[in-house]
C-alpha cells in the first residue's frame, strides 16, 4: 500500500504510540485486502464494547490506545453488556459493572460519543450519501451502506477504532464503486412479509452476494430489521430495494430468484428452538421512537398478563424522545437502555428467550446459550396482555 510521508512518519511512531499502532493495523488490513492507499473518512462507529465479549484483553488494548490518542472524526459506540444505570436490577455483578464502566470510560477518553446503541444512524451519527465511513456492527454498517448510501466495509471493532483515530481507512472492498453492484435480484412474491424471516432467508443464500429486492416496500424500521437479519445470517453488508433505497444505474447483470410464502414459512419454522420462554425481549436492533410508539398504542389501556419477564431494549437518545409511550411500556416490562439481549450475560438468568428479531435468533443460541422462540411482534404482545 502506498503511504504518504506523513503516514510513514505516523507508522514510524513520530506521532505517538497510539497512532503508530492504529497505522500499523490499517496497513496490515490494507495489505491483506490489497488496498492501494488510505482514504479519508467522515465518521466511525465502534463495536467491541461489552465486557462479556472483549474481556480483560479488550480493556488492556483500550487502555493502551487511550493513553496518547483520540479519535479525529465523529465516532459512536455500540451497546455495552448492561444498562449503565439500572444494571443491578438486571442481575449484573459488581465486578462486571466495574469492568464495563472501565471500558466505556476508555472509549470516552478516546473522544468517542458513548451513545451506546446499535442504531446511531437514527440520531447521533448520520452519514450522508456517498461518504466514506468506517463502521463496525454488522446491522448498522449494512443500514448506512444500503439505506443511506454511504460507503463502509464490514469493520471489526479494533479496525474501526484505528480508522477513527487516523480519520482514514484502506481503500478496498465496498469503498470502490465497482464492488457495490448488486449480484442477485430477489423477487419477493409473498402476501405477508416478516422482514426478519426474509432477512434470514436471503442471508442464508450466502456467497457474499449483494441482494437487490423487488416487490417489497419496507419502512425505515423494517429496513433496519432486514439489514440486521441478513448481516447475522449471512454477513450481508450491502443490499438494495427497488423504489426504496438508492439503487445503482445498472442492475441487469444479476442472478435472479424469487421467494414465496412457502419458502418463508420453511425458514421461519427453523428459527425457533424452544417452547417456554422465560424472557420476552424486543429491540434487536434497538427500538426506534416509531417502534416504541407503535408498541405503546397497541398496549394502551391493556393490562399485563402472566409473569414472564419482558425487556424493551433501546438507546438513551430514544428514551429521551418518547417518555409518554415508555410510561405505557413500563407497565408491561423493563425499558432497558444501552444494552440488549445479545451482549448482556442473559445466560446467567435465562435459558429460553422469545424474540421478534432475526438477528437475535442467530446469536442467542451461540453467544448466550439460549433456546429461542421466534414470533411476530404482535404475537409476542399477545403473550403479555
Amino acid at each position: 500500500m502506498f503511504l504518504t510521508r506523513e503516514e510513514e512518519q505516523i507508522l514510524a511512531g513520530e506521532f505517538g504510540e497510539g497512532k503508530k499502532k492504529a497505522m500499523e493495523l490499517l496497513v496490515a488490513l490494507g495489505d491483506i485486502y490489497k488496498a492501494e492507499r488510505l482514504i479519508p473518512i467522515t465518521s466511525a462507529h465502534l463495536s467491541g464494547v461489552s465486557y462479556k465479549t472483549i474481556g480483560e484483553g479488550g480493556i488492556s488494548f483500550l487502555e493502551e490506545m487511550s493513553r496518547d490518542s483520540k479519535v479525529c472524526v465523529p465516532t459512536t459506540l455500540n451497546p455495552p453488556g448492561m444498562d449503565r444505570e439500572k444494571w443491578k436490577g438486571m442481575g449484573i455483578s459488581e465486578h462486571f459493572a466495574e469492568r464495563q464502566h472501565k471500558i466505556i470510560s476508555c472509549y470516552e477518553s478516546l473522544g468517542v460519543t458513548s451513545n451506546c446503541s446499535c442504531t446511531p444512524y437514527l440520531d447521533v451519527n448520520i452519514p450522508k450519501i456517498g461518504e466514506h465511513v468506517s463502521w463496525a456492527e454488522s446491522s448498522a454498517l449494512s443500514y448506512v451502506n444500503s439505506v443511506i448510501g454511504a460507503k463502509t466495509n464490514r469493520e471489526g471493532g479494533p479496525g474501526a477504532l484505528a480508522a477513527a483515530i487516523l480519520g482514514k481507512t484502506p481503500e478496498y472492498g465496498l469503498h470502490l464503486s465497482e464492488n457495490r453492484a448488486p449480484s442477485i435480484t430477489i423477487e419477493v412474491k409473498a402476501s405477508d412479509v416478516n422482514y426478519s424471516v426474509l432477512g434470514q432467508a436471503v442471508g442464508q443464500l450466502g456467497g457474499g452476494r449483494i441482494p437487490y429486492f423487488k416487490g417489497i416496500r419496507p419502512t425505515k424500521d423494517q429496513l433496519k430489521t432486514l439489514a440486521a437479519a441478513m448481516a447475522a445470517a449471512g454477513s450481508v453488508a450491502l443490499f438494495y430495494v427497488d423504489g426504496v433505497t438508492p439503487v445503482p444505474a445498472d442492475t441487469s447483470e444479476t442472478e435472479k430468484i424469487s421467494i414465496d410464502d412457502k419458502e418463508l414459512q420453511s425458514v421461519r419454522d427453523k428459527m425457533s428452538s424452544g417452547n417456554d420462554p422465560e424472557l420476552i425481549a424486543l429491540g434487536c436492533p434497538h427500538l426506534s421512537c416509531e417502534e416504541i410508539h407503535s408498541l405503546a398504542s397497541k398496549l394502551k389501556n391493556k393490562t399485563k398478563r402472566g409473569d414472564i419477564e419482558v425487556w424493551f431494549c433501546t438507546s438513551r437518545c430514544t428514551v429521551a424522545k418518547c417518555k409518554k409511550d415508555l410510561d405505557i411500556l413500563s407497565k408491561f416490562g423493563n425499558v432497558i437502555c444501552d444494552t440488549c439481549m445479545i451482549v448482556t450475560p442473559i445466560e446467567e438468568r435465562f435459558k429460553c428467550t422469545a424474540v421478534d428479531s432475526g438477528k437475535a435468533c442467530n446469536y442467542l443460541p451461540t453467544l448466550c446459550s439460549q433456546k429461542v422462540v421466534f414470533r411476530d411482534t404482535d404475537d409476542l404482545l399477545e403473550m403479555i396482555q
Binding site: E24, A28, E56, F61, G157
Partner: protein, 257 residues
C-alpha cells in the same frame, strides 16, 4: 536460510516453531491462561514463547481480543507465521505487538526449528537450515525423458533416480550450470528450450532451491559419467514408481511435461 514474506505486525523475536497444519481460531482454539492449542495435531502443546505457524486464522472476530488476553496472562507466542493472513489474527497480532509475517510456505518449516521472525522486514530466518541452489535438467527425446540413477560416489541421494543435476557454484548462473552438467553427465552439448520457475523443497536440515531446465534432443545417444550407474528413457507417468530425489515431480510440472 532466510524466507521473505509480507510484513503484518512489526517487531522481531525468536523461538522454536510450533507447526499447526490447520487454520486456527483463537476464540476456543487457544487457551489464554496457558497458551495451549486445542487442535489435535499439535498434541496439547502450548504456543507460549513459540513461533506459532499455521495456514491462516478463522472463526469469531473476538479472536483478536483473545490474543490481547494472552498478553495479559503472559502466554503470547513469540511470533506468528501464516501462509495467508486474515483480519482476525492480523488485528490481534498488531494489538498485542506480536511480530507476524505471512506469505510463507509452511512446507519449508519443521516442528521445533529454531526461527527468527522479523515483522518489520517481513522475513523468517531459520539459522540451522542451509539453503542450497541446484539445477535439475530434464532431457526429452520424443515422448521419453532421460532418467538417471545416482551412483554411490555422489554426496547425496545415492541410489535414487533423478534428472541431470548439480550444485550451482558461486560464480555460475543457473543456466551455465545446467549446460555444464548436461555436458559432463551425458556428453550432450545442448541449450535448454525451457526454463522453469525455481522452487524450494525442505529435506532434513537443507532446503533445496531447485532450478528446472528442459532440453530437447532427437534420437540422441548419451554416455554417463561416474555420477550415475544406469539410465533409462521413460515416460513421465512411469517415474512415480521409482525412488526419486525430492521435488522431481514438481520439476516435471514446472516444465509442463
Amino acid at each position: 536460510m532466510i524466507l521473505t514474506g509480507r510484513k503484518i505486525s512489526q517487531g522481531k523475536s525468536q523461538g522454536k516453531v510450533l507447526l499447526c497444519p490447520n487454520p486456527v481460531s483463537f476464540l476456543g482454539g487457544v487457551s489464554p491462561a496457558d497458551g495451549k492449542v486445542s487442535d489435535a495435531s499439535v498434541n496439547g502443546q502450548s504456543a507460549t514463547g513459540r513461533v506459532f505457524a499455521f495456514p491462516r486464522g478463522k472463526g469469531s472476530t473476538v479472536g483478536s481480543y483473545v490474543i490481547m488476553d494472552m498478553k495479559q496472562h503472559g502466554t503470547l507466542p513469540a511470533a506468528i507465521i501464516n501462509e495467508s493472513a486474515e483480519p482476525i489474527v492480523a488485528t490481534g497480532a498488531v494489538m498485542a505487538s506480536v511480530p507476524m509475517v505471512d506469505s510463507i510456505d509452511l512446507s519449508l518449516l519443521r516442528e521445533g526449528d529454531e526461527c527468527i521472525v522479523d515483522g518489520s522486514t517481513g522475513t523468517v530466518e531459520l539459522p540451522d537450515v542451509k539453503e542450497i541452489n541446484v539445477v535439475s535438467c530434464v532431457i526429452k527425446d520424443g515422448e521419453k525423458i532421460l532418467f538417471l540413477r545416482r551412483s554411490s560416489k555422489v554426496g547425496t541421494f545415492q541410489g535414487y533416480w533423478s534428472a541431470v543435476s548439480g550444485f550451482i557454484e558461486v560464480n555460475e548462473t543457473p543456466l551455465e550450470t545446467a549446460i555444464k552438467e548436461v555436458r559432463e553427465e551425458t556428453t550432450l552439448i545442448s541449450e535448454p528450450v525451457k526454463i522453469g520457475e525455481p522452487f524450494k523443497v525442505r529435506d532434513g536440515d537443507t532446503v533445496w532451491v531447485i532450478h528446472p531446465f528442459l532440453f530437447e534432443e532427437k534420437d540422441c545417444s548419451i554416455q554417463i559419467d561416474w555420477e550415475h550407474t544406469e539410465y533409462k528413457w521413460v515416460c513421465v507417468s512411469e517415474t512415480a514408481s521409482y525412488q526419486c530425489v525430492p521435488g522431481l515431480d514438481i520439476v516435471y510440472k514446472s516444465l509442463g511435461i
